[in-house]
Symmetry: C2
Subunit: 496 residues, 2 copies
C-alpha cells in the first residue's frame, strides 16, 4: 500500500491518547479528547452554514485555543485554509483573500476595525466571526474527513518575493507530515515533551508546532503574545522542554534570564529566522542553553536543516545538515559548489511545497526537477554542514518576519509624488533589521518623510514601514536597469 | 512534492551522525560511518560479480554484523532481498529460492551442510558465500542507490497459510519506513536509546530493528542467539533501553532475573508473537517491567497494534490500538463487530504489504480495498482496545515461529504409508506450543511414530516436527469434508 492517506490526525490522536493534555492556553488545559470534541462541534457548526469539502477559507485569528480548534474543524471538513498574517493592513489582507479565491473568511471581533475595511473590498466572500459561529446550532451530521490525503492542500501561506506581490505557498498534509517526521528523527520525542508556542500560528513556525502536537501526541503551551518573562517562568517551572524562537526573541529571553539558568529537562531552543549573531550563540553556550540553529521557510513547511544535538556546541554558527527525509546542495552558476564555496541554497524533500497557488510561471522558476531554489546564499563546510550567509538579497528579517523590499517599493511608488523608490535595511537593536527607503520624487512635486511614512502605514503592516526615508536624485542601477539594493546598503553605511 | 523517494537510509544516517555507534556485535562497536563504508565496500564487491539493480537475491545468514552489512550492501545496489529462515530444511529453502525466482543466493560457510543439498536442487541460480565475497577485489565504481523509492520492493519474507505452501510477502521501502514511523510515534526516541536484537534478522521482528537503527540513528546490540543471562546483563549493565521478545523468551528472561530488577533507563519490553498468558503479564507488572504487548505480522512489516505507555498497566492483556498511521476493524460475516464481539481482525495502513510475490489470487483473497484480512480472531473493547484471542485456527506459535498445520500435514501425507494426516498443537512449557500429528495409514501398510518423525525431520525445520504422532482410523471432517482441527485439539485434551 502506498502512503497516500492517513487517519485524520487529531481524531486518531484522541483515539490513541485521549487523556493526555494537548494544549494549555490561558491557564486552562485541553486534552486530546476535548480538543477533538471541540473541533467536531465547530465543524458541525461550520457545515451548517454550508462550508464544504474542497472550499477555500481564509482565516484571520490570534494565537488562541479557539484558533487551534478552528483550524482542526476546517481540516475535519476538508477545507483548504489560507493562513492570514494578522499584522497585515486591511488592503494587504483583502488582496490575499481575493488572490487565493477564498469563498470564506473567518475572523474574530478582536479585528473588528480591520474587518470593516476588509468587508468593503470583498464581494462574494462569505464572512464569519468566531463569536457568531459559536452561536450556530450546528448540524447533527457533518461529513468529517476520516482520512487525510497526503497530496491534498492543507494550508496556504503567503510570502513575497522579488516581484513585490505575495504568492500563496501550498502546504499539503504530506508536507506537514514529513516536516514533523524530519523533526522527530532529529530531536527525538519523550512522554515528558512540551513545546512552547510563542510564535504566531499563522506562520509556519507556529503552525508546525500544532501539527507535531497531534501527530506526536505532545503537549503544547500556547500564548497569545511572546513575553520573555513568561517564557522563562514556563521553562523553569512548567516543564517546557522545547521552544521555537527567532533571534530577537532569544535576545529578550537571555536579557530577562540574567544569571539564572534552565533545568536539565529543557532540551531544545530551536532558533530559526535567519543567521544568528555569533555572540548570541556564545552566550547561550556559556549558559549551557541547548540552542539548535535551524534553517527553513514557508516553502519547506518549517525546518529543513537543523544542527543535530551532538554538534550543537562544536559547529556553532552552522544550521546543520538537511533533516532525514530532505536533501540539500549549493549551486554556483549551474554547477555544484566546492566545500566552503558560497552559492545558492537548493533543497528537496517531501516537506517541500509543490508550488505557489495559481502561479505556474513562478512555481516553475522556483522549483526545478523537484529542487527548490531558495535564493538564499550559504556554503557547506568540508563535513557537509550548512552555513547560511545571508537570506536572499531581496529579503531581510525584522522581528522574525520576512520583509521584502520590492513589496515596500511598490507601495511607496504608488504615492503620487514619488517617481521611484529603493528599499534596504539597517541594523536595529530591538528588531534585528528595519527597512529604510531611498526615494526619488517627481519634478515639481513636493512631499516629506512624515507624509510618506504615514502613506506606508495605511498600506503596509507596521513591521514593513520604513524607519527612515532618504530623498535622493537617482537610484543605483546596473546596465540592464536592475535596482542595486546592495549599493543602497553601502551608501547607507557611508552616511553613518 | 510527493514522498516517493527518500535519501538512501544508511548513507543519510552516516552523513547526519557518523560517529554515533550503530551496531554492537561480539564486543565490537561499529559507527554509522563505519557501517556505511563496510556496506559500500561490499556493494562494490557484489557489483563486480554482476549483481545489479532489480535483481532478486535470496540470503541465508545468521544474526551477525556481516549479515547487517550484506543487507545494506544489497539495498545500496537496489537488489530485492529474499530473507530465508535459517531453521528451514534444504528442501524448504530450495523451494523458496526457486519460487521467488531469485537470480542470486548468498549464504555463509556455517551452513555448508545445508548448502550442499540446496546446490543440487538449484540450477541457474548463482551462489555466493560471504567468505568468498570478502576476497573479491571489487570495482572502483558501483552504481549505489542515492535514493530509495518507497514503492519499490526492499525485502521478501515467506510465510505459510491455509494452502500449505509458503507465500512470499512483499515488503517495500515504504512499508518499512512507515512501520518505523508508527513505532516512534508510540514509543518515542531519545539519544540514549539502545535496542537489543536477540530475535532473528530473517524475521520481521529482527529486520525491523535494523530499519529503525538507520532511520532513527539508534544503537542496536545484536547477538547471534538469544540468551536470557546475557539479555539481563545487557539491560542491567550495558544501557539497553528497548528489547523485542516473544512469550517464550520473556519466560526465560524472568526466570533468570529472579528477584533482581531492571534500571529505570530500561523502558520497553516489546512483546510480540501471539497472546501472552495473563500470569506472565502480572508477574512483569509486579516486577515493574514495562511490557508493551504488540500485535503484528510479516504482512504488516512488524507492529501494527501496540499498547501505549499510559495503558501498559491498566489494559493488561490488550495489544492496544493501531499505531498512528494504521487502522483496524473487527469483522463478523461482512459487518463491523460490536464492542466486545469477537471477529476477524482486519487492518490497513502504509506499513501493510501490497501482497504476495507472484500470487495474484491469494493477494486478492487477503487484501480487499486496501484492508488486509489477517484471519486472526479478536475483539475491541468499548474503548477501542484490541484483544487478540487467537491467531487464526490454522496457525500456532512455537518458540516465536509461526507454525502452519497444513504445511506439516502436506509433508506427512507424502509418506508412502500415510493415507491422511491432521495436525494441531499442544501446550509446552518451553516452546509455548508444539505440533502433534494425527495420522491415518493406508490399509495393508505399516509404519510407526519413529519412522514418521524421522521422515518429518528430513523435510521440515525442527520447530515444525511433531512431538507426537497419534495413529487413528479417521480424521474429524465437516459435511464439506473440511478437516476440523479444533476437534483434533479437543480429542487431544480428552486423551490427557
Amino acid at each position: 500500500m502506498t502512503a497516500e492517506r492517513l487517519p485524520n490526525w487529531l481524531r486518531k490522536r484522541a483515539e490513541l491518547s485521549p487523556d493526555r493534555v494537548a494544549v494549555e492556553f490561558d491557564n486552562r488545559s485541553y486534552t486530546f479528547d476535548e480538543l477533538n470534541k471541540m473541533a467536531e462541534e465547530t465543524a458541525r457548526k461550520l457545515a451548517s452554514k454550508g462550508i464544504r469539502y474542497g472550499d477555500i477559507c481564509a482565516v484571520l485569528m490570534r494565537n488562541h485555543i479557539d484558533s487551534v480548534v478552528m483550524l482542526h474543524a476546517l481540516f475535519y471538513l476538508g477545507v483548504k485554509i489560507v493562513m492570514l498574517n494578522n499584522r497585515l493592513t486591511p488592503n494587504e489582507l483583502t488582496w490575499q483573500i481575493i488572490d487565493s479565491q477564498s469563498e470564506w473568511f473567518i475572523s474574530e471581533e478582536h479585528f473588528s476595525k480591520k474587518l470593516k475595511q476588509i468587508d468593503k473590498g470583498l464581494s462574494g466572500v462569505k464572512i464569519l466571526k468566531k463569536e457568531e459561529i459559536r452561536l450556530f446550532t450546528g448540524m447533527d451530521e457533518a461529513r468529517i474527513q476520516e482520512e487525510f490525503i497526503l497530496q491534498e492542500t492543507a494550508t496556504i501561506m503567503y510570502t513575497s518575493g522579488t516581484s513585490g506581490n505575495p504568492k500563496g505557498v501550498i502546504q499539503t498534509f504530506g508536507n506537514h507530515w514529513w516536516s514533523a517526521m524530519g523533526s522527530v528523527l532529529n530531536l527525538g520525542l519523550t512522554e515528558e515533551d512540551c513545546w512552547f508556542c510563542g510564535v504566531p500560528i499563522f506562520h509556519i513556525s507556529g503552525l508546525s508546532i500544532f501539527m507535531r502536537n497531534v501527530i506526536y501526541g505532545m503537549k503544547v503551551i500556547l500564548v497569545e503574545k511572546f513575553d520573555e518573562t513568561e517564557v522563562n517562568a514556563m521553562i523553569q517551572q512548567k516543564g517546557v522542554t522545547i521552544i521555537s524562537v527567532v533571534t530577537a526573541m532569544l535576545n529578550r529571553v537571555l536579557l530577562d534570564l540574567g544569571n539564572n539558568s534552565y533545568p536539565d529537562s529543557f532540551r531544545c531552543m530551536l532558533l530559526g529566522g535567519g543567521p544568528a549573531p555569533r555572540h548570541l550563540l556564545d552566550e547561550c553556550k556559556s549558559k549551557g542553553i541547548p540552542v539548535y540553529q535551524t534553517y527553513g521557510m514557508t516553502e519547506t513547511s518549517s525546518q529543513i536543516v537543523t544542527l543535530a544535538p551532538e554538534y550543537s556546541m562544536t559547529k556553532i554558527g552552522s544550521a546543520g545538515k538537511p533533516l532525514f527525509p530532505s536533501q540539500l546542495k549549493i549551486e554556483v552558476e549551474g554547477r555544484k559548489a566546492m566545500p566552503d564555496e558560497p552559492g545558492e541554497i537548493v533543497v528537496s524533500g517531501p516537506n517541500v511545497t509543490m508550488g505557489y497557488l495559481n502561479r505556474e510561471e513562478e512555481t516553475e522558476k522556483a522549483i526545478k526537477n523537484g529542487w527548490l531554489y531558495t535564493g538564499d546564499i550559504g556554503y557547506l563546510d568540508s563535513e557537509g554542514f550548512l552555513y547560511v550567509m545571508d537570506r536572499r538579497s531581496d529579503l531581510f528579517i525584522s522581528g522574525g518576519e520576512n520583509v521584502y523590499p520590492a513589496e515596500i517599493e511598490s507601495i511607496i511608488s504608488q504615492h503620487p509624488a514619488v517617481f521611484e523608490a529603493g528599499v534596504t535595511s539597517t541594523d536595529d537593536e530591538k528588531w534585528g533589521q528595519v527597512p529604510v527607503a531611498f526615494v526619488v520624487v517627481h519634478e515639481d512635486t513636493e512631499t516629506d518623510e512624515k507624509e510618506l511614512i504615514s502613506y506606508c502605514k495605511q498600506h503596509l503592516a507596521a513591521y514593513k514601514v520604513p524607519g527612515q526615508i532618504i530623498f535622493c536624485s537617482s537610484l543605483p542601477r546596473n546596465s540592464s536597469n536592475k535596482l542595486l539594493r546592495r549599493e543602497l546598503k553601502k551608501s547607507l553605511g557611508a552616511r553613518k
